[in-house]
């Protein structure tokens, strides 16, 4: 199970979510691939990031299970991880 996180340096929501995500993985360690929309353009385009940033794509054996965008609380993210984990 891993998470692909697509953010951008110019996106204020991404700055906030980076901090929140760091707290989440302290509690529930999970492999995270962080991509920047501009600097890692090819790589991030593979995941078709869409219109709203940040994007969190939850993958299981390279298959996308779930995707959320924008700002969420730490609790929400942990709950999602728990749901997918079981």
């Amino acid at each position: 199970m891993k998470v692909v996180k697509i953010t951008a340096v110019w996106c204020s929501a991404c700055l906030i979510m980076n901090k929140i995500w760091n707290k989440v993985i302290e509690k529930k360690p999970i492999e995270t691939i962080s991509l920047d929309l501009d600097f890692d353009e090819e790589e991030s385009n593979k995941y078709t990031p869409g219109e709203v940033l940040p994007v969190f794509i939850f993958m299981d054996n390279d298959k996308e299970i779930k995707r959320i965008t924008g700002e969420h609380t730490e609790e929400e993210l942990i709950k999602i991880l728990e749901e997918i984990g079981d």
């Binding site: 204020s12 700055l15 965008t69 700002e71």
Partner: protein
């Protein structure tokens, strides 16, 4: 027949030799106007309308754009009454004069008429200048003195600032409020954040500061320049009522758009809208170029150009709010230095969030950001503000003059 002539003679002599009776009843309004001057035409219409409401007023009109004698006469009157403001229409009632006209002046003009009708302070200064009986004494504007006294109730003691005129305070608070809400919307925030993320990476701290501050100042300057030129256009645009209603409708449409985008944002997660990549790339390459530019001069030049282009886009993106603010200034007939003062306040609060993010980033070399959750509220508040002011512009423009009598 003799008897009639006698009675007539007594009657006329009664009026002629008793000026106070004459003065008390009839008030003269001297209306200096220009043939073809739109504001004059509007005021002329107003004066004609109030003629039947105030039977005791006599209106003397002097066309001064074409008629040379009238022009000379007006100059003499202005010189003697120490009237420095220029331009027509010039309206003089007793010892009070009003320069310019907009429909929001009607209330004041009627107050002047009533003041002189009710008080015994009326003296036909212009009349005396006309028949060379003017005694040269300095003219005391009784109405303004009275108006100031009643207006004193409209100065309040603000804790820190002390005694302030409520009217200026209201315009200042409008500048703060609308500036803040306008500054909050995220139109150009992404450029600033990208710029800061590039600046933080720079080793040369002095250059980092120079570019960052140049960007903020250039943004403020271009935004203000557009607003000030806009103010000076609409303050003396001819048929101001029609123009004001157009701006009101633009404001109401703007409010519908804003409130609509608030409703949409409620449903989806708040995050950053991805700007189309071509545009993004263009701006990023510009930023990369001048943050790595050898010559500081070229780097700053690039920064200024970027700030100008970004803020012209930003102005279009949030044009509703600055437009409304300039209309409030126009209604209060504020232009020139005073308009500059109020726009400066507007700009400070408009850039406040950008400045906070910039300075925090420069000192902590970490970019802090304000959650995008609040963006949708700036759309909501901006929308409500535009709706309220738009409606006021149409139905109650004088409320926007903040006259608390």
């Amino acid at each position: 027949m003799k008897k009639i002539r006698l009675i007539l003679f007594i009657l006329i002599s009664f009026f002629v030799f008793n000026p106070s009776v004459f003065a008390k009843d009839n008030i003269k309004i001297y209306f200096f106007h220009g043939d073809g001057c739109p504001h004059c035409k509007e005021e002329d219409k107003f004066l004609e309308e109030i003629k039947d409401k105030y039977p005791k007023i006599k209106i003397e009109k002097y066309e001064v754009w074409k008629n040379k004698d009238n022009q000379v006469f007006m100059e003499i009157v202005k010189d003697k009454m120490k009237i420095s403001d220029s331009g027509v229409p010039l309206t003089i009632i007793g010892s009070t004069y009003v320069v310019g006209y907009a429909d929001t002046y009607n209330d004041k003009l009627e107050r002047i008429i009533n003041f002189y009708l009710d008080s015994n302070k009326y003296s036909d200064i212009v009349g005396s200048i006309k028949n060379n009986t003017y005694n040269g004494k300095t003219v005391i504007d009784y109405f303004e003195k009275e108006d100031k006294k009643t207006n004193n109730s409209t100065t309040i003691n603000v804790p820190i600032i002390g005694k302030t005129n409520l009217k200026n305070l209201s315009i200042e608070s409008a500048a703060v409020l609308i500036g803040l809400v306008d500054g909050f919307n995220p139109c150009a925030m992404w450029v600033l954040l990208f710029l800061i993320s590039m600046l933080i990476g720079m080793k040369n701290r002095k250059r980092m500061w120079a570019i960052g501050i140049t960007f903020l100042l250039a943004s403020a300057f271009i935004y203000m320049a557009i607003m000030l030129s806009w103010i000076n256009i609409i303050v003396n645009i001819s048929t101001s009522i029609i123009f004001r209603n157009i701006i009101a409708i633009v404001a109401i449409i703007g409010s519908i758009i804003n409130i609509n985008s608030f409703r949409k944002e409620l449903k989806k997660d708040s995050g950053c809208e991805v700007i189309d990549s071509k545009k993004r790339k263009k701006i990023f390459s510009k930023i990369k170029k001048f943050t790595t530019e050898k010559s500081l001069f070229l780097a700053l030049g690039g920064t200024i150009l970027l700030a100008v282009s970004v803020n012209v886009v930003e102005l279009a993106c949030s044009a509703g709010l600055p437009l409304i603010f300039t209309q409030i200034l126009a209604i209060n007939n504020i232009s020139g230095i005073k308009a500059f003062y109020y726009t400066l306040i507007y700009m400070f609060f408009f850039l406040l969030d950008d400045m906070i993010i910039f300075f925090v980033a420069m000192f902590t070399t970490k970019i802090s950001a304000i959650s995008t959750k609040y963006n949708k509220y700036s759309h909501l508040i901006g929308g409500i503000l535009m709706l309220v002011i738009g409606l006021l512009l149409i139905f109650k423009p004088e409320w926007l003059m903040f006259n608390f009598q």
